[in-house]
């Protein structure tokens, strides 16, 4: 059953907080203008970086967390280029032009089921709010975070609130050594669903392990987006029913519909 998605909006919203995690990551908290309770995990926003020569289009960013108590949303952002760098300069009380909430969400397992969330790098972003919602639904939540090294493993305290946490790094600087797909937790393939977000290669590897073990798997895809609302058809991914838009048919897809081979 399709969940009910809130109406989309575009608005100048106030920045409440800009928390620096390290040189590469920061969390923007933004004052929403409508009820954040109806936002679903996996949805994203698209931020305008105003009046710059080379950052012309909006920048899609997952919704990292929502705070119903102050009706705000958190965005976890990695600095990778000009746009994410310019957004990192935002200060409390600055405004930012936000198009939101966009996209389809992860689907929430029924209670008592067992979920594994696998995040790589900044791909952890949509998983925190998902973990929160899963836990609220009494799902048994396991979270595996992976990255190149310790400085790519972020926000662990935050994730620990909602499930059992596992870590792997390629350089073994924290957690198990290797790729997330080599982590022992994946050997006990007794999960009802794997949710994942991260680099493309990682998600494909996770999806293939899930498929091998007959586990349902949902991924959140990244993609170059121009509009974010299904109008431009730039952000397609090949699926069993042809090219679909990552911004409106996704970003979350069940891997069984993706043509990934």
């Amino acid at each position: 059953m399709e969940p009910v998605y809130p109406k989309k909006n575009v608005k100048l919203l106030k920045v409440i907080k800009n928390r620096t995690i390290n040189d590469n990551y920061y969390v923007l908290e933004i004052q929403a203008d409508h009820n954040v309770n109806d936002i679903l995990p996996g949805q994203f926003v698209s931020l305008l970086v105003e009046d710059t020569r080379n950052v012309f289009l909006r920048r899609p960013i997952s919704i990292y967390d929502v705070h119903p108590e102050r009706n705000s949303i958190d965005l976890l952002i990695q600095i990778v280029g000009e746009g994410t760098r310019l957004l990192s300069y935002l200060k409390p009380d600055d405004t930012v032009d936000v198009l939101y909430p966009l996209g389809k969400s992860y689907s929430i397992l029924e209670s008592e089921k067992k979920a594994l969330l696998i995040g790589g790098g900044v791909g952890v972003a949509p998983l925190l709010y998902l973990a929160k919602k899963l836990k609220a639904n009494n799902v048994d939540v396991h979270i595996l975070l992976g990255g190149r090294g310790a400085k790519n493993i972020i926000e662990t305290e935050n994730f620990k609130q909602y499930g059992k946490l596992y870590i792997s790094t390629e350089d073994a600087s924290v957690g198990e050594k290797g790729f997330v797909t080599q982590h022992p937790v994946l050997q006990y393939a007794d999960f009802d669903r794997i949710y994942t977000c991260g680099p493309d290669a990682m998600m494909r590897a996770v999806a293939s392990i899930a498929a091998k073990n007959n586990i349902d798997c949902e991924v959140s895809l990244e993609n170059m987006m121009a509009c974010g609302i299904g109008a431009c058809l730039c952000c397609v991914t090949p699926t069993e029913s042809g090219h679909q838009c990552v911004c409106t048919d996704g970003p979350v897809f069940n891997t069984k519909v993706l043509q990934w081979n």
Partner: protein, 302 residues
């Protein structure tokens, strides 16, 4: 204050339209704006058969612009007529269908199907898509082929027909005159400029198709020049397109000779921008004491 303009006998409540391929079919924008306040919309490029379009990646950002290589992804004219049409036919605005094809026959068949739809005001004949291997821009870059397809479609399509011209030509005026002579009710210009982006770090072409179409404010000065040149040379109305981001840009196109304007890429940056342009044109008219918007058309002082 009169903001209504006409193309042939078709009236637009105001000159603000949205450009094909940048506005979906309309519903995509219903959360943001009241589509009925627009002068018109041009829906996504439609072909006889379903098309999957080009492979990903299809988009690249450039200085004050973007490249796209969508390649006319659409579900074909039958799905348009049987499904999509019924979701949009109630709009109280002029709906144009942007028609494309690989052969003259495909254009004609598609136009025939659209001709049956009561609530479609007209077609925009797209002879300028730079992102398809066959047809598209090939028709729009020479007079004989532009004439052939325009003439053939004119035979079967009875309502308003505008022809969308390619800027990738030595002389856009010749093409405009040619399609006027075989019965176009208007011309719309410009489509995107054929362009390209390379990623120096990976040394790869950014688009799967290598080349794509450039749009956005970067191309506005070229579009404005072409609208002005064509306006000097033809008698049929012009829909001005290319990098329009705000009401000031829209007015510049009207001063250069456009009767309506189409907002394209700007819809991606601000989905409400078309409403701001409708309002901004009215503000301008008040500020400049212009009672009838038609006085702006071609009103550039030399």
């Amino acid at each position: 204050m009169n903001t209504a303009v006409k193309i042939g006998s078709l009236e637009f409540k105001n000159p603000v339209m949205t450009a094909s391929g940048t506005f979906g079919y309309g519903p995509e924008f219903e959360d943001f704006i009241d589509i009925n306040r627009l002068g018109g919309i041009v829906v996504k490029g439609t072909t006889l058969h379903h098309r999957e379009g080009n492979a990903y990646p299809r988009m690249a950002e450039t200085s004050s612009g973007m490249l796209n290589a969508v390649g006319l992804q659409n579900k074909g004219v039958d799905v348009f007529c049987n499904e999509i049409y019924h979701k949009i036919k109630h709009y109280d605005t002029n709906i144009f269908v942007n028609v494309s094809g690989s052969t003259v026959e495909e254009y004609v068949e598609t136009a025939e199907r659209i001709n049956e739809l009561e609530y479609i005001s007209g077609i925009e004949l797209n002879i300028s898509c730079p992102n398809v291997k066959e047809g598209g821009m090939a028709f729009g870059t020479s007079c004989p082929s532009a004439i052939a397809v325009t003439h053939a479609v004119r035979e079967v399509y009875k309502k308003t027909m505008v022809v969308k011209l390619s800027p990738n030509v030595t002389n856009i005026v010749d093409i405009a005159k040619a399609v006027q002579d075989v019965g176009a009710d208007g011309v719309s210009l410009i489509n995107t400029l054929l362009a390209m982006a390379i990623n120096a770090e990976t040394r790869k072409s950014v688009l799967s198709t290598i080349t794509g179409g450039l749009s956005g404010p970067a191309i506005k000065p070229i579009a404005l020049r072409m609208v002005w040149q064509v306006a000097q040379a033809v008698d049929i109305p012009i829909m001005g397109i290319g990098g329009i981001m705000n009401a000031t840009d829209a007015i510049e196109f009207m001063l250069a000779g456009a009767t309506t304007i189409q907002v394209g890429t700007a819809n991606f940056i601000d989905p409400t921008v078309s409403m701001k342009i409708v309002d901004g044109i009215e503000d301008y008219m008040i500020r400049h004491k212009i009672g009838d918007i038609n006085d702006l058309i071609g009103g550039m002082l030399v």
